[in-house]
């Protein structure tokens, strides 16, 4: 029975969420989202970073228990207070960050918490046999995995298969797959499709989350689009195409922003020559990277997760851990890359990927966060000139349009977009020549996103050199003058603004195959 037919026959949904609201300090993560999952369907869930997808699946999976609204399984109202609750009701979430124990074997992981026993002792032989049967659903891709191998000896793709096999093995009726193919090869991805289709034939329903829209269209019958914590729409996939979907995801506002004015870049600010980074385990994270960024130019770094985008930015900022070879010239002089202190002194600023991890001190106020990196400018003999610091911070708050009741408000009270502006402002206060932006709009609402783009454009027009790492392709297309695509730590290619279509970027990022 097809999904459409199922809905015509008014098959009751297995899982139904109605008007779900989730509040975090300073931000409403979900605002009245509804979603229903019918037996045997693959339901696509799309939205930009920060749209609320992860929060929604945390609610479904029992990870996040504080929400308002209604959720029901088979029409019975439920409220999961733990992952185990959700599993017992037949809802399993396969998170992007795998929830496996790397010190245990594959079989132990697959049967964790429900080990077959014999007289109170774990029946190892049966456990291995069960594990093998669970993996067999994945055909060759699964059969290649040795149930007795320690999990840490497996590649990420194989670990992903183990995680999915575990969810299937619990007889889940709704399985949420969060970016399941991010680390899979093409063959593994194909195999995953087959498994998903086979399971849907048996009535299992999937919620499928992916940034790769072609996967969504290949698998899903219905698609729910989230934006800024709200459900924009839920439609049959047949009514949509990739362009329409992207517009729904980013909103008319941003879609209409279109192309910026052509810029005329100036002198070379940053010249990276044959940069290598080897981490402490001897793995080569950056492999012979050369590129340049000129004044008044935005260069974007694209590439898959782990391709070295973040590593390149932190190496340039002196914050990478490991051995660095090669050099970076800043305004023609070799820059010391030993510490962030050196980098700041050389006129480099980095807005890090994770604003709560590396950007902000949440216990501190907006003002204290803003002047933290530039504090030396406001000090005499180590004593802070608070009047000067306050005046400069106030000016920055006004320039960036940070919405905060006061400079003294603790920064954790602000919304994600305003927090991100504080991080940006903190770095602009150091008056950099080169601004490194790592995922500058992750977890930021669309309004703030547009404002941040406008700020970046303004800065570039004033002659700042910007190097931006982003996994958000529309963002790259909107901002970048040139795109450097990284693959496995090396430069896979460089695209001009005109050449940089999403398809061209992806092709370089994954190595031509797909």
């Amino acid at each position: 029975m097809t999904v459409a037919a199922a809905r015509e026959a008014d098959v009751a949904p297995i899982l139904a969420l109605d008007d779900i609201i989730v509040d975090f300090p300073g931000v409403r993560a979900l605002d009245g989202v509804s979603l229903d999952i019918c037996p045997g369907e693959v339901h696509g869930l799309v939205g930009e970073n920060g749209a609320g997808k992860s929060t929604l699946i945390k609610v479904m999976g029992g990870v996040h228990g504080h929400w308002q609204g209604k959720m029901s399984v088979d029409g019975r109202p439920v409220r999961f207070s733990s992952v185990a609750d959700a599993r017992a009701a037949g809802v399993a979430v396969v998170h992007q960050e795998l929830a496996l124990v790397s010190e245990m074997t594959v079989a132990e992981n697959l049967l964790l918490g429900r080990e077959p026993t014999c007289g109170g002792l774990v029946d190892t032989a049966r456990m291995i046999a069960d594990a093998r049967a669970m993996l067999a659903r994945f055909g060759r891709a699964g059969a290649d995995i040795d149930p007795e191998a320690e999990l840490s000896s497996l590649g990420v793709g194989q670990q992903q298969i183990v995680e999915i096999a575990r969810a299937l093995g619990t007889d889940a009726r709704v399985i949420v797959l969060d970016e399941p193919t991010a680390a899979l090869t093409d063959a593994e991805t194909e195999r995953l499709y087959e498994v998903v289709r086979a399971e849907t034939a048996r009535g299992v329903a999937f919620v499928y989350i992916s940034h790769r829209l072609e996967e969504i269209f290949a698998l899903c019958a219905r698609i729910t689009v989230l934006r800024d914590g709200r459900r924009v729409t839920c439609r049959d996939a047949a009514e949509l195409d990739a362009d329409k979907l992207v517009t729904l995801m980013i909103g008319e506002e941003l879609a209409a922003m279109g192309e910026g004015a052509r810029r005329r870049p100036g002198d070379t600010v940053l010249q990276v020559e044959r940069l290598m980074l080897t981490d402490r385990r001897g793995r080569r994270v950056l492999d012979d990277v050369s590129l340049q960024v000129r004044a008044g130019e935005v260069v974007a770094l694209a590439g898959a997760m782990g391709s070295g985008r973040t590593a390149l930015l932190s190496t340039l900022f002196g914050a990478a851990r490991g051995r660095v070879e090669g050099r970076a010239l800043l305004g023609g002089f070799t820059a010391r890359l030993a510490s962030p202190r050196d980098a700041i002194a050389a006129g480099i600023a980095l807005v890090p990927e994770d604003r709560k991890g590396g950007g902000l001190v949440l216990e501190m106020s907006v003002g204290e966060n803003l002047d933290l990196a530039a504090l030396g400018r406001f000090c005499r003999a180590g004593v802070i000139d608070e009047a000067a610091a306050t005046r400069a911070s106030t000016a920055e708050v006004r320039r960036l349009g940070v919405k905060t009741p006061s400079l003294e408000t603790e920064v954790r009270m602000l919304s994600g977009g305003n927090q991100q502006k504080v991080v940006l402002g903190k770095w602009l206060m150091t008056e950099p020549r080169l601004l490194l932006l790592d995922e500058p709009t992750r977890g930021v609402d669309v309004g703030a996103k547009a404002e941040i783009y406008a700020i970046v454009r303004e800065l570039v027009e004033d002659g700042l050199a910007v190097l931006i790492a982003s996994s958000d392709l529309p963002e790259i297309r909107l901002l970048a003058d040139r795109v450097v695509v990284l693959r496995e730590g090396a430069v896979a290619g460089e695209l001009s603004r005109e050449e940089a279509t999403e398809e061209a970027i992806l092709r370089l990022a994954v190595g031509g195959g797909r």
């Binding site: 914050a319 980098a343 700041i344 204290e368 306050t390 009741p405 006061s406 919304s415």
Partner: protein, 382 residues
């Protein structure tokens, strides 16, 4: 967002803890002033002088411990450090006949060396502070015993009494009066500056509370120390608290300390030299440990290396934690720690006056520490 109430728009969280602590302190005093068993003795000039002197060395070390705990560290070695620095001073005085200023300077220098030693392991080699200072807890006590051949060193020479003398009455009154005036003037200036910089005005209650607290504190100090002058240990504690407050609130170093405690990674990425700041925080508490060692040596008129400063680390950590400094780092205030030390000292003093058995006192102290940490943890979990 602009709809945030003023109490959330202004960072008064830590300050609220201090007000609450001040309230607890006043409540305790009120109870002890009324209880039949203590009312004749507690709220007397003599007992208040005693209480403040007893608390002084705890408060001095608590100032340093506040910064240590704010950067997510701990220092278990301060009790042993007090013994070691005390022994340094006593040996120079008794065995070598050095004048008091030299002995005192040597004790402070020894404290700085202790701090630098521990700071080295903690900041350079990233050995957990708990382990490094636990090692110091044993080693410094042992070193104090070895250096002194395990004998009690006493008495100190006569000139060492500068450490325990009273500042004369007239000077005391003058200093306190000037202190009140300066305090009020600074508040006035800060309010004017807030207006000039277009910051939100402080809530009225906070302004009135601060003025009232300054006047009440001044009045209390005048009443207790006016007649016979202020003992030097109390003055040293006051100085340490003022210096610690200035350092933590007004200097770049202090800002860096809070940034490291709140988010070490963000601090590093902001170009803060995390290692150097960490190092100096431990040197700072080392010097203050030396001050406490000198105060104790003066008060006891000698040093018993096996006992001096015994369990001081627990009193100090308890004072800091009940004063509102968070063990998870990034939050805390020196003034809160002073109040914590006063509350803790008052409880000891009160239990002594009530004739509570010293073993039971230990049990109560343990319970108070548990309660304080639980409040800290639970208030974050909400």
């Amino acid at each position: 967002m602009s709809g945030l109430s003023k109490s959330r728009a202004l960072p008064v969280g830590v300050e609220l803890r201090s007000w609450a602590m001040a309230g607890v302190l006043l409540l305790l005093w009120a109870v002890l002033a009324v209880l039949p068993a203590t009312r004749e003795f507690f709220l007397t000039e003599r007992n208040m002088v005693n209480l403040t002197v007893q608390v002084s060395h705890v408060a001095v070390v608590a100032v340093g411990m506040t910064l240590v705990i704010v950067i997510r560290g701990i220092d278990l070695s301060v009790g042993a450090g007090v013994a070691l620095t005390g022994v340094v001073a006593a040996l120079l005085q008794i065995d070598h006949g050095m004048p008091a200023p030299v002995a005192i300077a040597a004790a402070l220098a020894a404290g700085a060396v202790i701090g630098a030693w521990q700071g080295f392991w903690i900041s350079r080699l990233a050995i957990p502070a708990f382990v490094v200072t636990l090692a110091g807890f044993n080693a410094f006590r042992g070193l104090a015993l070895v250096m002194s051949d395990a004998r009690g060193l006493s008495p100190m020479n006569d000139d060492f009494s500068i450490v325990t003398a009273n500042i004369p009455s007239v000077e005391t009154i003058a200093i306190i009066a000037i202190g009140i005036a300066v305090g009020l003037a600074l508040m006035q200036r800060a309010a004017a500056r807030r207006r000039a910089l277009e910051l939100l005005p402080m809530p009225r209650a906070a302004t009135i509370g601060r003025i009232a607290a300054t006047l009440a504190l001044g009045g209390f100090l005048l009443a207790v120390f006016g007649p016979h002058g202020m003992p030097v240990p109390v003055a040293l504690a006051a100085l340490a608290v003022l210096a610690g407050t200035f350092l933590s609130k007004k200097t770049r170093f202090g800002r860096h300390v809070y940034a490291i405690g709140g988010n070490p990674e963000a601090a590093r990425l902001s170009g803060i030299n995390v290692r150097r700041v960490t190092m100096w925080v431990y040197v700072f508490i080392g010097v203050l440990t030396g001050v406490a060692g000198v105060i104790l040596a003066g008060r006891v008129n000698g040093v018993t290396p096996g006992n001096a400063g015994n369990l001081l680390e627990l009193d100090v950590i308890t004072a800091v934690v009940i004063g509102g400094t968070s063990l998870s780092g990034g939050r805390g205030s020196v003034v809160g720690s002073l109040l914590g030390a006063m509350v803790f000292g008052t409880l000891s003093n009160g239990m002594n006056l009530l004739g509570v058995d010293s073993n039971w006192q230990l049990i109560f102290k343990g319970m108070i520490l548990m309660a304080a940490v639980s409040i800290d943890v639970l208030s974050k979990r909400k």
